[in-house]
Symmetry: C2
Subunit: 324 residues, 2 copies
């Protein structure tokens, strides 16, 4: 029998899962499309069945020690997902309980960005760091804080929701899925940059290849490709997105004074495009005592597996020695 | 011999100090005016001499275990004050070393708000709390974070400088002593509210008793008195100040998810005036998962002694058992 943890990363679009051994080796993995499931019970049944089939397909006999889950608005204290703006399920979803009804295993649910932070700390660029933050740029914007070598959960298990800090105050600001206006993730995320792109296309009269795409078609990947091909309006969208990100990360530093901030996820992959403006505006906005001291870095995790590895690492950390 | 810690609170205007026993009893205290000393060496000499004289006047024989200091931009790792916008001394001030040249005692320097946080945790309203924040409203705006029952210092000892997060982005914003524009403390602090008051007096044509005071004369106390006497423009200044504060505290919660935030200091004393609008805008701006869960509370410390008690508590905590 090979001991493994089941790591699950639930995103607004996709869910990835993997059986991971103690050394971070993925033995077998799979995925399903989150957005296809409007009912969470059906989603859980499909997820558990997919994982069961994958486990059975594995050439080794698996001894599963527990399940670690990263999900937007995942609450570590209660095993719930609460009022996520990015998932199809509204209100409070008792995810750990729903899964335990199907499998007799311990389940841990946390913020997907917290899971990524643990992954970065154990397998990635934050090895040896005690104080850092990870920013995940996906459908939304997540963040995970590590303070003194430990994940920061906060009183209710909801620390690190800086995607829902306000960038631009005012009543005419962008609507956020959370019901408020002007949240950081309405600007800095895969969906945020497409909104910025539409605004730029509305304001400018310059030509752009992106004018042929409908708002529903337009993706951050299209903008990234156009920017790399020299489309000046697409480049401007990255400049604005990086400015917003750099500006708010400078504010973040004045809260917890980390030594590094990692950018992770699809949008962060277009390295030069988002990093250059983000770094410039970050340094420009930092209070002098922090200037030059806080590194803004790309995640050094294999981005395909990172969140799943992080989720599995959480499970190893918590369940290996029967802590919970 | 009675064992005591010497607690020192350095503010932009005044410095308070006290010899405090293990139970938080102030045996003897004193103060001097920070702003009268343009040279830090002269300030330290005067401070040490004042403390020496006070100690000699005490009817008990004092055995001083160490010195705890709260100061704006105080750095716990290095014993320095670095680039404070609120003190007369620029650059990096090696405060602990300067004091040790005069007295052979261990010295600990931290953010004045961190010292207040320890005071609140040991003697005040945060007894038993594990995750809370204190906001000190004085000449500037300081903040101290407690996470899992411990002060949050951050990588460089500078966590909790939210007075220098940006409220209103833009190049036409208020100048801050830190050299940047639009910092929270340019709006929310004793000096911030006087700037807001001047702006209101400029914009409005309504009469106000405050129109007889020059910008140099006008103090937050004048505004507070006028507001309590029914001056609608002074009341508007508190409304705006509370709005800014509530708005940024909602952002803060999305970072570390505390269970309570305490307001401390002169400006916070005008309870109804600042609390009512701050609380309203705080709740209004909170992400739904936090709504109704984070208390905004007045500090329950005797405000006159709180910072000094906090500084002494830090010294007790660190030096009592020869930890440092």
């Amino acid at each position: 029998m090979t001991k493994v943890a089941l790591g699950i990363d639930i995103g607004g679009t996709n869910t990835d899962f993997a059986f991971v051994d103690r050394d971070g080796e993925v033995l077998i993995e799979g995925h399903l499309e989150t957005r296809n499931f409007s009912e969470v019970e059906v989603y859980v049944a499909a997820l558990v069945e997919k994982a069961r089939l994958a486990g059975a397909r594995c050439e080794k006999d698996l001894d599963i020690i527990g399940i670690g889950i990263g999900a937007p608005m995942g609450n570590i204290n209660k095993g719930t997902i609460e009022h996520s703006a990015d998932l199809p399920w509204k209100g409070i979803v008792p995810l750990a309980d729903l899964i335990k009804e199907q499998i007799n295993l311990p389940v841990l649910v946390t913020n997907d960005a917290n899971a990524a932070a643990v992954g970065e700390m154990i397998y990635g660029g934050a090895r040896g760091m005690k104080n850092f933050v990870i920013i995940t740029l996906g459908t939304g914007l997540g963040s995970g804080f590590v303070v003194d070598g430990k994940l920061l959960y906060g009183q209710d298990g909801f620390a690190g929701e800086i995607g829902h800090t306000i960038v631009r105050p005012g009543r005419t600001n962008r609507e956020c899925g959370c019901g408020r206006l002007g949240c950081l993730e309405t600007y800095v995320s895969a969906t945020g940059i497409t909104r910025t792109m539409l605004k730029i296309l509305a304001d400018s009269i310059k030509p752009s290849v992106l004018r042929d795409l409908s708002p529903n078609q337009l993706s951050s990947l299209d903008i990234s490709k156009a920017a790399l091909a020299g489309d000046s309006l697409a480049q401007l969208a990255f400049e604005h997105t990086g400015e917003m990100l750099g500006f708010k990360l400078a504010d973040l530093v004045a809260h917890t004074n980390p030594e590094a901030i990692f950018l992770f996820g699809g949008l962060a992959l277009s390295k030069g495009l988002i990093f250059e403006p983000a770094k410039r505006h970050f340094e420009e906005n930092l209070l002098s005592i922090y200037k030059g001291k806080v590194d803004l870095l790309p995640s050094q995790l294999n981005s395909k597996n990172a969140a799943v590895l992080g989720a599995s690492a959480l499970a190893w950390d918590t369940f290996e020695n029967g802590k919970k």
